[in-house]
Amino acid sequence: MTSKDAPTQPQSQPINLSTLPIPQLTAIKNQLTQELQHLTTSFTQLRTAQAKFRDCIKSVRDGIEKKGANKAQEGGASSSKPILVPLTPSLYVPGTLASTETVLVDIGTGFYVEKTPPAARQFYTAKVEELGKNLKDLETIVQGKQGNLTVVEDGTLWTCTLPEKG
C-alpha cells in the first residue's frame, strides 16, 4: 500500500491533523516514534560520554594530583603510592607513576596534547559542560517530539471514533 503524499509544500504550513486520513496519521506516528527513539538513544550516548569525562576528572584529581602532592611532601619517587596497572581487564601489575607533572590528553581525531593536571581537569570540565548544554537542548527537543507524538496519537484515536470519515 502506497499512501499518497501531499505534494511537498515549499513552506511548512500547519496542517490540521483531523483532516488527514488514518494511513497518513499512522505514517506520521511511526515517523515520530522513530525520531523519538533515535533522539533518546543519542541522549543516553551523550550521558555516557559525560560520565566518561567525569571519570577522567576524578582520575586526574585523585590519581595524579594527590599522588603528586604526596610525592612532593615526602620527597623522592619511591615514596609515591604504588598503583596497579591493568595489563588485561583481569591482570594487574604494581607500578609507580614516573611523572605527575604532565598528562597526555586525547583531544580527538588522533591528536594528543601534553597538559598539566589542572589544565587537563579544566579541559574535561569544559567538555562536561558542553555536553551538559547539548543534553539540555536535546531534552527540549525530545519533550517537543513527545508532545507531537501525543497529539498525533490522540488525533488517531479521535479520527477512529468518528462514524464516517472521507
Binding site: G108, T109, V113
Partner: protein, 120 residues
Amino acid sequence: MTAPNPQQRLQSLSEEYQNLQTDLQTQITSRQRLESQQQENLAVRKEFNILSDDSTIYKLIGPVLLKQEKTEAESAVDGRLDFIEKEIKRVEQLISDMQEQSEGKKMEVYQLQMKMQEAK
C-alpha cells in the same frame, strides 16, 4: 491492455524505487558520519585555539605518537575541515537529487496502480 504487462512494469518500478531508497539511506548515513567528523574536528580546532604556542602536541599515526608543531597540527585540522565541508556539500546535493528521483518514481508507481485499478 494485456494483464501481465503493467504487472511486470509495476514490479520493475517498485524494484527501482526500492534500490533508490537503499542508496538514499547509504548517503544519509555517510552524511551523518561526516557531520560527526566535522563536529570532532571543530572541537579539536577550538582546543588548538586556546592552547599556548609552545604546548606539546602529538599525533597518533598507526601505533605511534608523533610529536608535531602546533602550526602543522592546525593546518592539518583546517585541511580536514575544508575537505569535510566540501564532502558534506557534495553528499547533500546527491541526497536531494535522489530524493527528487525517488519522489518521481513513487508518483509513477502510484499512477500505474491507479491505472491498473481502473482497468479492473
